[in-house]
Protein backbone atom coordinates (compact mmCIF):
# COMPACT_ATOMS: atom_id res chain seq x y z
CA UNK A 1 0.00 0.00 0.00
CA UNK A 2 2.83 2.35 0.82
CA UNK A 3 4.49 1.40 -2.39
CA UNK A 4 1.75 2.89 -4.46
CA UNK A 5 2.10 6.50 -3.36
CA UNK A 6 5.79 6.16 -3.71
CA UNK A 7 5.42 4.97 -7.25
CA UNK A 8 2.95 7.72 -7.88
CA UNK A 9 5.40 10.23 -6.52
CA UNK A 10 8.17 8.95 -8.68
CA UNK A 11 5.96 9.15 -11.75
CA UNK A 12 4.97 12.68 -10.93
CA UNK A 13 8.57 13.61 -10.42
CA UNK A 14 9.47 12.07 -13.71
CA UNK A 15 6.68 13.90 -15.43
CA UNK A 16 7.78 17.13 -13.92
CA UNK A 17 11.28 16.42 -15.00
CA UNK A 18 10.16 15.83 -18.54
CA UNK A 19 8.15 18.99 -18.49
CA UNK A 20 11.13 20.90 -17.27
CA UNK A 21 13.17 19.43 -20.03
CA UNK A 22 10.56 20.47 -22.54
CA UNK A 23 10.56 23.95 -21.13
CA UNK A 24 14.30 24.11 -21.25
CA UNK A 25 14.34 22.92 -24.80
CA UNK A 26 11.75 25.45 -25.79
CA UNK A 27 13.70 28.15 -24.07
CA UNK A 28 16.78 27.12 -25.91
CA UNK A 29 14.93 27.17 -29.19
CA UNK A 30 13.59 30.59 -28.38
CA UNK A 31 17.02 31.76 -27.45
CA UNK A 32 18.47 30.41 -30.65
CA UNK A 33 15.91 32.12 -32.77
CA UNK A 34 16.42 35.37 -30.93
CA UNK A 35 20.14 35.00 -31.41
CA UNK A 36 19.71 34.29 -35.10
CA UNK A 37 17.56 37.35 -35.47
CA UNK A 38 20.09 39.45 -33.64
CA UNK A 39 22.91 38.18 -35.79
CA UNK A 40 21.01 38.84 -38.97
CA UNK A 41 19.95 42.32 -38.03
CA UNK A 42 23.05 43.55 -36.32
CA UNK A 43 25.78 41.85 -38.26
CA UNK A 44 24.66 40.60 -41.59
CA UNK A 45 22.41 43.37 -42.76
CA UNK A 46 24.97 46.15 -42.25
CA UNK A 47 27.52 44.07 -44.06
CA UNK A 48 25.11 43.47 -46.88
CA UNK A 49 24.49 47.18 -47.06
CA UNK A 50 28.18 47.82 -47.21
CA UNK A 51 28.50 45.19 -49.87
CA UNK A 52 25.84 46.92 -51.88
CA UNK A 53 27.62 50.22 -51.63
CA UNK A 54 30.92 48.72 -52.64
CA UNK A 55 29.28 46.94 -55.53
CA UNK A 56 27.81 50.18 -56.65
CA UNK A 57 31.23 51.76 -56.58
CA UNK A 58 32.61 48.92 -58.63
CA UNK A 59 29.85 49.32 -61.14
CA UNK A 60 30.49 53.03 -61.34
CA UNK A 61 34.05 52.20 -62.21
CA UNK A 62 33.19 49.69 -64.86
CA UNK A 63 30.23 51.46 -66.36
CA UNK A 64 32.40 53.20 -68.85
CA UNK A 65 33.79 49.94 -70.13
CA UNK A 66 30.39 48.49 -70.68
CA UNK A 67 29.45 51.42 -72.83
CA UNK A 68 32.78 51.14 -74.52
CA UNK A 69 32.26 47.53 -75.42
CA UNK A 70 28.73 48.17 -76.48
CA UNK A 71 29.88 50.87 -78.81
CA UNK A 72 32.64 48.62 -80.11
CA UNK A 73 30.41 45.69 -80.84
CA UNK A 74 27.56 47.89 -81.94
CA UNK A 75 25.09 46.27 -79.66
CA UNK A 76 23.05 47.37 -76.76
CA UNK A 77 23.31 45.05 -73.83
CA UNK A 78 20.58 44.95 -71.31
CA UNK A 79 19.55 42.64 -68.57
CA UNK A 80 16.08 41.55 -68.05
CA UNK A 81 14.58 39.05 -65.76
CA UNK A 82 12.02 36.49 -66.42
CA UNK A 83 10.15 34.07 -64.30
CA UNK A 84 11.80 30.74 -64.08
CA UNK A 85 10.05 27.95 -65.86
CA UNK A 86 10.29 24.86 -63.84
CA UNK A 87 10.36 21.37 -65.03
CA UNK A 88 7.86 19.39 -63.05
CA UNK A 89 10.01 16.30 -62.97
CA UNK A 90 12.97 18.19 -61.72
CA UNK A 91 10.89 19.79 -59.08
CA UNK A 92 9.65 16.48 -57.86
CA UNK A 93 13.07 14.91 -58.00
CA UNK A 94 14.68 17.76 -56.20
CA UNK A 95 12.10 17.64 -53.50
CA UNK A 96 12.40 13.96 -53.14
CA UNK A 97 16.14 14.05 -52.87
CA UNK A 98 15.92 16.78 -50.31
CA UNK A 99 13.42 14.93 -48.26
CA UNK A 100 15.36 11.74 -48.44
CA UNK A 101 18.28 13.59 -47.08
CA UNK A 102 16.23 15.09 -44.36
CA UNK A 103 14.84 11.82 -43.28
CA UNK A 104 18.26 10.34 -43.40
CA UNK A 105 19.39 12.87 -40.90
CA UNK A 106 16.60 12.63 -38.48
CA UNK A 107 13.40 10.86 -39.18
CA UNK A 108 11.55 12.53 -36.38
CA UNK A 109 12.42 16.07 -37.21
CA UNK A 110 10.40 18.32 -39.41
CA UNK A 111 11.34 17.46 -42.92
CA UNK A 112 10.70 20.81 -44.43
CA UNK A 113 12.35 22.89 -41.80
CA UNK A 114 14.47 25.42 -43.62
CA UNK A 115 16.99 25.59 -40.91
CA UNK A 116 17.51 21.92 -41.03
CA UNK A 117 20.68 21.96 -42.98
CA UNK A 118 22.31 24.52 -40.82
CA UNK A 119 21.62 22.77 -37.61
CA UNK A 120 24.81 21.14 -36.47
CA UNK A 121 24.09 17.64 -37.46
CA UNK A 122 26.49 14.82 -36.81
CA UNK A 123 29.45 14.83 -39.10
CA UNK A 124 28.49 11.49 -40.46
CA UNK A 125 25.66 13.08 -42.28
CA UNK A 126 27.84 15.63 -43.93
CA UNK A 127 28.83 13.17 -46.55
CA UNK A 128 25.24 12.48 -47.25
CA UNK A 129 24.62 16.15 -47.55
CA UNK A 130 27.41 16.62 -50.00
CA UNK A 131 26.44 13.65 -51.99
CA UNK A 132 22.85 14.69 -52.13
CA UNK A 133 23.72 18.14 -53.19
CA UNK A 134 26.00 16.82 -55.85
CA UNK A 135 23.44 14.48 -57.25
CA UNK A 136 20.87 17.17 -57.14
CA UNK A 137 23.02 19.54 -59.02
CA UNK A 138 24.11 17.04 -61.55
CA UNK A 139 20.56 15.93 -62.07
CA UNK A 140 19.29 19.40 -62.45
CA UNK A 141 22.06 20.29 -64.72
CA UNK A 142 21.59 17.29 -66.87
CA UNK A 143 18.06 18.33 -67.50
CA UNK A 144 18.84 21.92 -68.07
CA UNK A 145 21.92 21.47 -70.17
CA UNK A 146 20.10 19.93 -73.04
CA UNK A 147 17.46 22.58 -72.92
CA UNK A 148 20.05 25.27 -73.02
CA UNK A 149 21.69 23.73 -75.99
CA UNK A 150 18.46 24.04 -77.82
CA UNK A 151 18.13 27.59 -76.76
CA UNK A 152 21.62 28.29 -77.91
CA UNK A 153 20.87 26.87 -81.29
CA UNK A 154 17.81 28.96 -81.62
CA UNK A 155 19.15 32.19 -80.41
CA UNK A 156 21.37 34.15 -82.66
CA UNK A 157 23.52 36.19 -80.43
CA UNK A 158 26.26 38.41 -81.64
CA UNK A 159 28.27 38.12 -78.53
CA UNK A 160 29.08 34.61 -77.66
CA UNK A 161 31.41 36.16 -75.21
CA UNK A 162 28.53 37.04 -73.04
CA UNK A 163 28.10 33.54 -71.94
CA UNK A 164 28.20 34.40 -68.34
CA UNK A 165 28.11 30.88 -67.19
CA UNK A 166 30.71 29.53 -69.56
CA UNK A 167 29.34 26.08 -69.00
CA UNK A 168 26.05 27.01 -70.51
CA UNK A 169 23.97 26.37 -67.49
CA UNK A 170 22.88 29.93 -67.46
CA UNK A 171 20.12 31.16 -69.59
CA UNK A 172 21.95 33.81 -71.48
CA UNK A 173 21.67 34.26 -75.18
CA UNK A 174 25.12 33.21 -76.31
CA UNK A 175 26.12 30.36 -78.52
CA UNK A 176 27.95 27.44 -77.04
CA UNK A 177 31.55 28.29 -76.46
CA UNK A 178 33.86 26.59 -78.90
CA UNK A 179 36.20 23.98 -77.57
CA UNK A 180 39.22 26.23 -77.67
CA UNK A 181 37.50 29.11 -76.00
CA UNK A 182 36.14 26.88 -73.34
CA UNK A 183 39.52 25.38 -72.70
CA UNK A 184 40.98 28.81 -72.37
CA UNK A 185 38.25 29.85 -70.09
CA UNK A 186 39.02 26.89 -67.96
CA UNK A 187 42.65 27.73 -67.92
CA UNK A 188 41.97 31.15 -66.61
CA UNK A 189 42.94 31.22 -63.03
CA UNK A 190 41.19 33.41 -60.61
CA UNK A 191 42.88 35.15 -57.84
CA UNK A 192 42.36 33.42 -54.60
CA UNK A 193 40.54 36.34 -53.10
CA UNK A 194 38.37 36.01 -50.13
CA UNK A 195 34.81 36.54 -51.03
CA UNK A 196 32.66 38.80 -48.89
CA UNK A 197 30.73 35.79 -47.81
CA UNK A 198 33.86 34.11 -46.57
CA UNK A 199 34.88 37.20 -44.70
CA UNK A 200 31.46 37.43 -43.23
CA UNK A 201 31.48 33.83 -42.16
CA UNK A 202 34.88 34.20 -40.55
CA UNK A 203 33.89 37.35 -38.82
CA UNK A 204 30.81 35.74 -37.44
CA UNK A 205 32.74 32.73 -36.34
CA UNK A 206 35.20 34.88 -34.49
CA UNK A 207 32.56 37.06 -33.02
CA UNK A 208 30.10 34.53 -31.84
CA UNK A 209 32.14 31.41 -31.79
CA UNK A 210 29.27 29.47 -33.14
CA UNK A 211 29.99 25.78 -32.89
CA UNK A 212 28.05 25.07 -36.03
CA UNK A 213 30.05 27.43 -38.14
CA UNK A 214 33.20 25.38 -38.63
CA UNK A 215 31.16 22.40 -39.52
CA UNK A 216 29.22 24.39 -41.95
CA UNK A 217 32.31 25.87 -43.44
CA UNK A 218 33.78 22.47 -43.72
CA UNK A 219 30.63 21.39 -45.40
CA UNK A 220 30.79 24.33 -47.68
CA UNK A 221 34.35 23.66 -48.54
CA UNK A 222 33.55 20.15 -49.32
CA UNK A 223 30.67 21.27 -51.38
CA UNK A 224 32.80 23.90 -53.01
CA UNK A 225 35.44 21.34 -53.82
CA UNK A 226 32.91 19.17 -55.48
CA UNK A 227 31.53 22.15 -57.25
CA UNK A 228 34.88 23.25 -58.57
CA UNK A 229 35.77 19.76 -59.60
CA UNK A 230 32.57 19.59 -61.50
CA UNK A 231 33.21 22.96 -63.02
CA UNK A 232 36.74 22.14 -64.01
CA UNK A 233 35.82 19.14 -66.04
CA UNK A 234 35.16 21.26 -69.02
CA UNK A 235 32.10 19.51 -70.29
CA UNK A 236 30.26 19.44 -67.07
CA UNK A 237 28.10 22.32 -66.09
CA UNK A 238 28.51 24.57 -63.16
CA UNK A 239 26.79 23.31 -60.09
CA UNK A 240 24.37 26.09 -60.20
CA UNK A 241 20.68 25.67 -60.11
CA UNK A 242 19.36 27.57 -63.02
CA UNK A 243 16.00 26.01 -62.80
CA UNK A 244 15.27 24.56 -59.49
CA UNK A 245 12.32 24.60 -57.30
CA UNK A 246 11.09 27.43 -55.26
CA UNK A 247 12.01 25.42 -52.25
CA UNK A 248 15.51 25.00 -53.44
CA UNK A 249 16.04 28.69 -53.60
CA UNK A 250 14.19 29.41 -50.47
CA UNK A 251 16.31 26.95 -48.66
CA UNK A 252 19.45 28.21 -50.21
CA UNK A 253 18.77 31.71 -49.16
CA UNK A 254 17.24 31.07 -45.83
CA UNK A 255 19.14 28.19 -44.52
CA UNK A 256 22.59 29.35 -45.29
CA UNK A 257 23.42 32.58 -46.95
CA UNK A 258 27.02 31.55 -46.70
CA UNK A 259 26.72 28.58 -48.86
CA UNK A 260 27.65 30.62 -51.84
CA UNK A 261 31.27 31.44 -50.95
CA UNK A 262 33.12 28.45 -52.26
CA UNK A 263 31.06 28.69 -55.35
CA UNK A 264 32.14 32.24 -55.84
CA UNK A 265 35.74 31.14 -56.08
CA UNK A 266 35.37 30.70 -59.79
CA UNK A 267 33.37 33.61 -61.00
CA UNK A 268 31.57 33.16 -64.22
CA UNK A 269 31.30 29.49 -63.58
CA UNK A 270 29.75 28.94 -60.29
CA UNK A 271 28.45 32.13 -58.85
CA UNK A 272 25.46 32.16 -61.08
CA UNK A 273 23.21 30.96 -58.39
CA UNK A 274 23.46 34.22 -56.61
CA UNK A 275 24.21 36.31 -59.57
CA UNK A 276 21.64 35.14 -61.99
CA UNK A 277 19.19 33.05 -60.22
CA UNK A 278 17.63 35.03 -57.48
CA UNK A 279 14.19 34.57 -56.05
CA UNK A 280 12.87 32.46 -58.86
CA UNK A 281 14.01 34.92 -61.41
CA UNK A 282 16.12 34.05 -64.38
CA UNK A 283 18.31 36.80 -65.59
CA UNK A 284 19.00 37.06 -69.23
CA UNK A 285 21.24 39.26 -71.21
CA UNK A 286 19.83 40.80 -74.26
CA UNK A 287 22.22 41.86 -76.97
CA UNK A 288 20.39 44.02 -79.43
CA UNK A 289 22.36 44.32 -82.64
CA UNK A 290 22.32 47.69 -84.27
CA UNK A 291 22.90 46.39 -87.75
CA UNK A 292 21.22 48.96 -89.91
CA UNK A 293 23.16 51.82 -88.42
CA UNK A 294 26.44 50.05 -88.80
CA UNK A 295 25.78 48.95 -92.31
CA UNK A 296 24.76 52.35 -93.49
CA UNK A 297 27.69 53.90 -91.77
CA UNK A 298 30.20 51.58 -93.28
CA UNK A 299 28.61 51.52 -96.66
CA UNK A 300 29.32 55.17 -97.07
CA UNK A 301 32.80 54.55 -95.80
CA UNK A 302 33.58 51.92 -98.37
CA UNK A 303 35.97 54.28 -100.09
CA UNK A 304 38.11 54.72 -97.01
CA UNK A 305 41.03 52.37 -97.34
CA UNK A 306 41.59 51.86 -93.66
CA UNK A 307 38.20 50.57 -92.96
CA UNK A 308 38.44 46.82 -92.71
CA UNK A 309 35.46 45.07 -94.19
CA UNK A 310 36.07 42.47 -91.57
CA UNK A 311 34.24 44.60 -89.12
CA UNK A 312 31.04 44.53 -91.04
CA UNK A 313 31.46 40.86 -91.41
CA UNK A 314 32.01 40.50 -87.75
CA UNK A 315 28.89 42.30 -86.96
CA UNK A 316 26.93 39.76 -88.86
CA UNK A 317 29.01 36.87 -87.80
CA UNK A 318 27.36 34.79 -85.20
CA UNK A 319 30.60 33.84 -83.55
CA UNK A 320 32.88 36.79 -83.94
CA UNK A 321 34.86 36.22 -80.83
CA UNK A 322 36.29 32.91 -81.92
CA UNK A 323 37.59 33.86 -85.31
CA UNK A 324 41.34 34.51 -85.52
CA UNK A 325 41.20 37.81 -87.39
CA UNK A 326 39.05 39.22 -84.69
CA UNK A 327 41.79 40.10 -82.28
CA UNK A 328 43.30 42.18 -85.02
CA UNK A 329 40.15 44.15 -85.18
CA UNK A 330 40.05 44.49 -81.46
CA UNK A 331 43.60 45.71 -81.41
CA UNK A 332 42.72 48.45 -83.79
CA UNK A 333 39.77 49.45 -81.86
CA UNK A 334 41.45 49.43 -78.57
CA UNK A 335 44.54 51.32 -79.58
CA UNK A 336 43.74 54.81 -78.46
CA UNK A 337 45.62 56.57 -81.21
CA UNK A 338 44.06 54.52 -83.89
CA UNK A 339 40.71 54.80 -82.33
CA UNK A 340 40.35 58.47 -82.84
CA UNK A 341 41.93 59.04 -86.21
CA UNK A 342 40.20 56.48 -88.33
CA UNK A 343 36.99 57.32 -86.65
CA UNK A 344 37.38 60.93 -87.60
CA UNK A 345 38.47 60.04 -91.11
CA UNK A 346 35.66 57.68 -91.45
CA UNK A 347 33.13 60.18 -90.32
CA UNK A 348 34.62 62.88 -92.47
CA UNK A 349 34.35 60.62 -95.45
CA UNK A 350 30.82 59.78 -94.52
CA UNK A 351 29.79 63.35 -94.16
CA UNK A 352 31.67 64.29 -97.33
CA UNK A 353 29.70 61.76 -99.25
CA UNK A 354 26.54 62.95 -97.76
CA UNK A 355 27.43 66.58 -98.32
CA UNK A 356 28.34 65.93 -101.94
CA UNK A 357 24.96 64.51 -102.62
CA UNK A 358 23.36 67.48 -101.02
CA UNK A 359 25.73 69.86 -102.80
CA UNK A 360 25.98 72.16 -99.84
CA UNK A 361 29.46 72.80 -98.47
CA UNK A 362 28.31 74.65 -95.40
CA UNK A 363 25.99 71.88 -94.52
CA UNK A 364 28.85 69.47 -95.00
CA UNK A 365 31.04 71.33 -92.56
CA UNK A 366 28.30 71.64 -90.04
CA UNK A 367 27.54 68.00 -90.44
CA UNK A 368 31.16 67.04 -90.06
CA UNK A 369 31.38 69.01 -86.86
CA UNK A 370 28.28 67.38 -85.61
CA UNK A 371 29.50 64.01 -86.61
CA UNK A 372 32.77 64.49 -84.84
CA UNK A 373 31.00 65.44 -81.69
CA UNK A 374 28.81 62.49 -82.10
CA UNK A 375 31.82 60.28 -82.37
CA UNK A 376 33.26 61.67 -79.22
CA UNK A 377 29.96 61.02 -77.58
CA UNK A 378 30.26 57.39 -78.44
CA UNK A 379 32.18 56.40 -75.42
CA UNK A 380 31.82 59.18 -72.98
CA UNK A 381 28.82 61.38 -72.93
CA UNK A 382 25.89 59.23 -73.71
CA UNK A 383 23.77 58.12 -70.82
CA UNK A 384 23.86 54.46 -69.96
CA UNK A 385 21.49 52.36 -71.93
CA UNK A 386 21.86 54.43 -75.06
CA UNK A 387 24.46 53.53 -77.55
CA UNK A 388 25.54 55.91 -80.25
CA UNK A 389 24.68 53.67 -83.17
CA UNK A 390 21.12 53.79 -82.03
CA UNK A 391 20.98 57.49 -82.50
CA UNK A 392 22.61 57.10 -85.88
CA UNK A 393 20.00 54.63 -86.77
CA UNK A 394 17.32 57.22 -86.62
CA UNK A 395 19.14 60.04 -88.30
CA UNK A 396 20.78 58.28 -91.20
CA UNK A 397 18.81 55.56 -92.84
CA UNK A 398 15.53 57.41 -92.94
CA UNK A 399 15.98 58.64 -96.48
CA UNK A 400 17.44 55.37 -97.61
CA UNK A 401 14.70 53.36 -96.14
CA UNK A 402 12.25 55.50 -98.00
CA UNK A 403 14.08 55.09 -101.24
CA UNK A 404 15.46 51.65 -101.74
CA UNK A 405 12.88 49.05 -100.93
CA UNK A 406 9.99 51.09 -102.25
CA UNK A 407 10.14 49.58 -105.67
CA UNK A 408 10.13 46.01 -104.49
CA UNK A 409 7.53 46.75 -101.93
CA UNK A 410 5.20 48.42 -104.35
CA UNK A 411 5.61 45.54 -106.77
CA UNK A 412 4.76 43.08 -104.14
CA UNK A 413 1.82 45.05 -102.87
CA UNK A 414 0.36 45.49 -106.33
CA UNK A 415 0.88 41.84 -107.10
CA UNK A 416 -0.77 40.76 -103.91
CA UNK A 417 -3.72 43.01 -104.47
CA UNK A 418 -4.20 41.82 -107.99
CA UNK A 419 -3.83 38.22 -107.02
CA UNK A 420 -6.42 38.52 -104.35
CA UNK A 421 -8.63 40.22 -106.92
CA UNK A 422 -8.32 37.14 -109.09
CA UNK A 423 -5.82 38.24 -111.71
CA UNK A 424 -3.16 35.85 -112.95
CA UNK A 425 0.55 36.40 -112.55
CA UNK A 426 0.99 37.40 -116.20
CA UNK A 427 -1.74 39.95 -116.04
CA UNK A 428 -0.18 41.15 -112.87
CA UNK A 429 3.05 41.84 -114.64
CA UNK A 430 1.38 43.62 -117.51
CA UNK A 431 -0.78 45.73 -115.30
CA UNK A 432 2.16 46.26 -113.07
CA UNK A 433 3.94 48.27 -115.72
CA UNK A 434 0.98 50.50 -116.31
CA UNK A 435 0.07 50.82 -112.69
CA UNK A 436 -0.11 54.36 -111.46
CA UNK A 437 1.52 53.25 -108.26
CA UNK A 438 4.40 51.85 -110.17
CA UNK A 439 4.71 55.05 -112.09
CA UNK A 440 4.76 56.97 -108.89
CA UNK A 441 7.48 54.76 -107.52
CA UNK A 442 9.60 55.17 -110.60
CA UNK A 443 10.06 58.71 -109.57
CA UNK A 444 11.58 57.50 -106.42
CA UNK A 445 13.91 55.30 -108.37
CA UNK A 446 15.52 58.36 -109.83
CA UNK A 447 16.83 59.01 -106.42
CA UNK A 448 20.60 58.51 -106.36
CA UNK A 449 20.18 56.10 -103.46
Amino acid sequence: MAQRPQQHMSLTAELEKIEQKITLTLQEIDHNFARAHRIVTTSILPIVDRYGKESEAVWEGSKFWKQFFEASANVALSNYQEEAVFDEDQTVDGDRARHEHTYGEDATSMASSPGHYTAGEPTVNDDDFTRDQRTQHSGIHGGVGSGDDDDDLLEDSLLESLNLTTGGAMQSTPKPVPARGRAQAQETEWADMESPFDALAKELTMKYGSPERPQQQQRQQRYGASASSVGSSSMLPPPTTPRTTRYADAETLESSPFRAPPVARTPGIANDRVMHRVLDKNWRIQATPLRSAMKSRYRTVAATPRQPPVFVKNVDDSSPMSSPPEPQLQTQIFTPGVLRTPGAKRLDAATATRGATGGDVAAREAASKYMYDDDSDDDLLLPPGFSPPKTMQFSLPASKLMATPAREASKRIVRDILQTAGASVDSTLTTDASSPIRGGMDDDDDDPF
Binding site: Q20, V40, D49, Y51, N79, L164, A185, H276, M321
Partner: protein
Amino acid sequence: MSTNKAAQLLSRIITNVEKLNEAILTMTHALHEISAQNMNTEIVAQMWKNYQSNVQFHLEATDSLQDPK
Protein backbone atom coordinates in the same frame (compact mmCIF):
# COMPACT_ATOMS: atom_id res chain seq x y z
CA MET B 1 0.99 25.60 -15.08
CA SER B 2 3.68 24.12 -17.21
CA THR B 3 1.32 23.96 -20.15
CA ASN B 4 0.74 27.62 -19.80
CA LYS B 5 4.45 28.22 -19.69
CA ALA B 6 4.98 26.08 -22.73
CA ALA B 7 2.34 28.02 -24.57
CA GLN B 8 4.01 31.26 -23.62
CA LEU B 9 7.32 29.95 -24.79
CA LEU B 10 5.82 28.80 -28.02
CA SER B 11 4.29 32.17 -28.65
CA ARG B 12 7.63 33.76 -27.95
CA ILE B 13 9.23 31.40 -30.38
CA ILE B 14 6.67 32.23 -33.00
CA THR B 15 7.28 35.91 -32.52
CA ASN B 16 10.99 35.41 -32.80
CA VAL B 17 10.62 33.33 -35.90
CA GLU B 18 8.45 36.00 -37.43
CA LYS B 19 11.03 38.62 -36.70
CA LEU B 20 13.78 36.43 -38.02
CA ASN B 21 11.79 35.75 -41.14
CA GLU B 22 11.32 39.43 -41.66
CA ALA B 23 15.01 40.08 -41.27
CA ILE B 24 15.85 37.30 -43.66
CA LEU B 25 13.41 38.68 -46.18
CA THR B 26 14.99 42.08 -45.91
CA MET B 27 18.37 40.55 -46.41
CA THR B 28 17.17 38.53 -49.35
CA HIS B 29 15.71 41.57 -50.93
CA ALA B 30 18.92 43.51 -50.47
CA LEU B 31 20.95 40.66 -51.89
CA HIS B 32 18.61 40.43 -54.80
CA GLU B 33 19.08 44.06 -55.65
CA ILE B 34 22.80 43.82 -55.27
CA SER B 35 22.95 40.77 -57.46
CA ALA B 36 20.96 42.44 -60.16
CA GLN B 37 23.28 45.37 -60.00
CA ASN B 38 26.35 43.20 -60.06
CA MET B 39 25.24 41.54 -63.23
CA ASN B 40 26.36 44.53 -65.20
CA THR B 41 29.74 44.38 -63.61
CA GLU B 42 29.92 40.73 -64.40
CA ILE B 43 29.11 41.40 -68.01
CA VAL B 44 31.97 43.85 -68.19
CA ALA B 45 34.29 41.36 -66.57
CA GLN B 46 33.23 38.70 -68.99
CA MET B 47 33.81 40.95 -71.92
CA TRP B 48 37.25 41.81 -70.70
CA LYS B 49 37.99 38.18 -70.22
CA ASN B 50 36.98 37.44 -73.76
CA TYR B 51 39.02 40.31 -75.00
CA GLN B 52 41.98 38.95 -73.14
CA SER B 53 41.41 35.55 -74.72
CA ASN B 54 41.28 37.08 -78.14
CA VAL B 55 44.41 39.08 -77.61
CA GLN B 56 46.16 36.05 -76.25
CA PHE B 57 45.14 34.01 -79.22
CA HIS B 58 46.17 36.66 -81.66
CA LEU B 59 49.53 37.20 -80.05
CA GLU B 60 50.22 33.52 -79.91
CA ALA B 61 49.15 33.07 -83.50
CA THR B 62 51.44 35.83 -84.65
CA ASP B 63 54.28 34.74 -82.38
CA SER B 64 54.44 38.18 -80.92
CA LEU B 65 53.65 37.24 -77.39
CA GLN B 66 56.38 38.48 -75.12
CA ASP B 67 57.08 37.85 -71.52
CA PRO B 68 56.22 40.68 -69.21
CA LYS B 69 59.14 42.91 -68.50
